[in-house]
Subunit: 111 residues, 2 copies
């Protein structure tokens, strides 16, 4: 049961903006475990799930779930190479979302 959020008057630059889109992206960011995943991806450039599992203390299906949420929010990307799935940050998207300050915190390679 999705509720409609009424738009504001057209004096408002955000009137036509999709709050929904940002809701999804912030939801994806709003979890310590996913922030940690982002953080690891930022350090390692591109990582397969098999490398992630031992680092991050999480059952595999759970990790898969969280990766999917990040993927659907377009904050990370997936690339299949043989048997492996490599994940990497969508740095452009993240930079469009986060302040420089925050980028420095979570995406050390940015600084």
């Amino acid at each position: 049961m999705k509720k409609e959020i009424p738009l504001l008057n057209n004096m408002n630059p955000a009137a036509n903006t999709d709050f929904e889109k940002y809701e999804q992206k912030f939801k994806a960011l709003a979890d310590q475990q996913r922030l940690q995943i982002i953080n690891i991806l930022a350090l390692k450039e591109s990582v397969c799930v098999c490398d992630l599992t031992p680092i991050i203390d999480m059952p595999q299906s759970k990790l898969s779930y969280h990766l999917k949420i990040l993927l659907e929010a377009d904050l990370i990307q997936k690339e299949k190479r043989g048997t492996w799935n490599y994940y990497s940050l969508n740095v452009k998207e993240l930079k469009g979302l986060l302040s420089d300050q925050l980028c420095c915190v979570f995406l050390p390679s940015c600084c």
Copy 2:
């Protein structure tokens, strides 16, 4: 049942950072209705709840609930004047969190 998120190695700049803190802030942002509230506050500078209620289609207790979440995340501020409670954005905090691009979307006064 809060789970501990294991810290990363100390090569990692975010190792000692409180993911918890950012989780809270992103959670506060991760809701269309709260984004709308932020958006209205950005337009109006400082608004009492009684002015907000007719604009935003929401029962009063619900509005109060969402304002509290934004307040606890330190994204907005509250000032009591007589019977009225005036809310305003914590622009500094928001700027420290959001990219310039996003600030422009949600906080039109920034651009």
